[in-house]
């Protein structure tokens, strides 16, 4: 029996990998204010996952397919006059969620899966999940570090970037697809609520401590991994749902950062 055969050990590995992935991607979500869009992605990949489960196709593939549809759908709807991004995202979110929930309801034995979809079941991750998360992490980090400069440029000043010949739209689309890939990787393993909080809370906390993107990214990864480990520890010792306790750990780090930050600012300046 190797170290990997223990469910808790596999969960620890998954939490570290997922935390790192969430930290790297989350920084971009927070800086570009894409939290609601990410929320919509998690809800809208739901029908894809359900359909994939019904037809016995790979869950990641199903989620990915619907996710790309959502990215394109929101982009198309936002271009209509009077349809602000928030409303378009909301429409896509409701549609996806209702479709997924409706499909689940037609199956009698599905409600167990529904709740694991919401809060995750990190103690049942398989070695295959670990390999996928690790692979996606490597790929995403590689792409993000290669394209860091244009992403930063188009994020902070799209008009100037376009004027300088950097296609802002294409880079934004690439970022949205990266977020989508991260969501699809995180959700089946850790659940929607946890995915959102791991993506947003550590990055938002890191954003409070620095204005430099490399520093923020490093801090976000550290915070995300730390809240994953803390939450997992609390979950096994207090017998509460792992997804929820990790989300609460991430929130605690953010609240502590917000409270402590003013003291440090005074000393530095």
């Amino acid at each position: 029996m190797s170290w990997w055969d223990d469910a808790v050990h596999r969960a620890v590995a998954e939490v570290v990998l997922a935390g790192a992935l969430a930290g790297f991607v989350g920084v971009h979500i927070v800086v570009r204010r894409l939290s609601f869009f990410t929320m919509a992605l998690t809800h809208a990949t739901f029908p894809g996952v359900v359909i994939a489960a019904l037809f016995g196709v790979d869950l990641l593939l199903g989620g990915m397919a619907t996710g790309v549809l959502v990215v394109l759908g929101v982009a198309a709807l936002t271009r209509r006059p009077g349809q602000n991004a928030a409303a378009a995202t909301g429409v896509v979110l409701s549609a996806g969620f209702a479709l997924g929930a409706g499909l689940v309801a037609t199956q009698n034995s599905f409600s167990r899966d529904l709740s694991s979809y919401l809060v995750g079941s990190i103690l049942t991750v398989t070695t295959r999940d670990l390999v996928i998360t690790g692979g996606v992490l490597t790929a995403v980090v590689a792409i993000l570090s290669l394209s860091a400069r244009p992403l930063l440029y188009t994020g902070f000043d799209p008009a100037a970037a376009t004027a300088a010949g950097v296609p802002a739209g294409a880079w934004t689309l690439l970022l949205l697809i990266i977020i989508e890939i991260a969501v699809v990787t995180l959700v089946p393993a850790v659940g929607t609520i946890l995915a959102i909080s791991l993506l947003v809370a550590p990055a938002a906390a890191a954003r409070l401590w620095s204005t430099r993107l490399p520093v923020i990214t490093l801090l976000a990864v550290l915070f995300a991994v730390a809240s994953g480990l803390l939450g997992l520890y609390a979950s096994t010792h207090l017998n509460i749902a792992a997804g929820a306790s990790i989300a609460l750990a991430a929130t605690t780090i953010l609240v502590l950062s917000a409270v402590l930050r003013p003291f440090f600012k005074e000393r530095n300046s």
């Binding site: 969620f97 938002a204 997804g243």
Partner: protein, 289 residues
């Protein structure tokens, strides 16, 4: 088309939908112009711990009070966080949402089986709405409409021109809090009967669809209400016939939402066609003159 609604539980479900249509039409317009889709979505999640605590403390009767307290708390917290501007409002909404929802999940997960609780929170129990719930919804609906009517003009001004609203002597913070509280009340009125899925959809989709038809707030509100009535009626009928005659368990809440989205898409296509033909007429007129 009428006959299924003579069955008591179908009649009650329809009554609940009608009440929600009357309040969600106008409130949805403000949610659209103030870009509060995410706040509405957050509120539907944050009432969950309130529901759980209320149920643990006072049984079925405690749910309403628990949800009310949690929703009002969220409305205040979100308004305060947005005002301080320390975090972007988008990120802080996401964090409040996940944190409060997690508290709810932690509380229910201590019990042996919580999956059915989560499921009923998602779908609501539209077909088992009681007369008491309808009475509660009606009372809240009257309150919401009164509060809304009192502040609608100021809130629209604040949405389109915050500077002018401040200049006119309105306190923007209180207006924002006012609207967030209204949305919170709508969520409380609706969530137990129709579930989170339907509440979010009722607040966002009808107004977005109505915006395709008109840009006047009053017309948008009425169109939104009309759309909800239509989708509610057909959705309930569809789920009735699907389960009674074909044995398919079609969740009524999902049915109503999908019909609303279908209506939105139809109006979207219509508005596209209209814009195209208007442009063609204009270019023809230009050629002639």
């Amino acid at each position: 088309m009428i006959e299924p609604f003579t069955v008591p539980f179908m009649g009650r479900a329809l009554a609940e939908i009608v009440l929600l249509a009357v309040i969600c039409g106008p409130v949805g317009v403000l949610v659209l112009v103030r870009k509060l889709s995410f706040v509405s979505d957050a509120l539907t999640h944050t009432v969950f711990p309130g529901v759980v605590v209320g149920f643990l403390a006072g049984g079925l009767d405690g749910i309403f009070l628990g949800a009310l307290v949690a929703a009002l708390l969220t409305a205040v917290v979100l308004t305060l966080l947005t005002r301080r501007g320390a975090l972007s409002d988008d990120a802080s909404t996401a964090v409040v949402l996940t944190a409060m929802f997690s508290v709810g999940v932690v509380l229910v997960s201590r019990r042996s089986s919580y999956t059915s609780d989560l499921t009923s929170f998602l779908f609501g129990r539209l077909l088992t709405v009681t007369m008491q719930q309808i009475a509660e919804t009606a009372a809240l609906a009257a309150l919401i409409l009164a509060v809304l009517a009192a502040g609608a003009r100021a809130m629209l001004l604040r949405a389109f021109d915050p500077a002018a609203a401040t200049a006119a002597g309105y306190r923007v913070f209180w207006l924002d809090l006012w609207l967030n509280v209204i949305v919170a009340l709508v969520v409380v009125a609706a969530v137990r009967a129709v579930g989170t899925i339907l509440v979010v959809a009722l607040l966002i989709v009808p107004a977005a669809a109505a915006r395709l038809v008109s840009h006047r707030p009053m017309v948008m509100a009425l169109t939104g209400t009309g759309l909800i009535l239509l989708a509610g009626w057909t959705g309930l009928l569809a789920s009735w016939y699907a389960s009674v005659e074909h044995g398919i368990a079609l969740a009524s809440a999902s049915g109503v939402v999908l019909l609303l989205v279908a209506g939105y898409l139809m109006l979207l296509v219509l508005s596209l066609v209209r814009v195209r033909s208007l442009a063609r007429i204009r270019s023809l007129a230009r050629v002639r003159s």
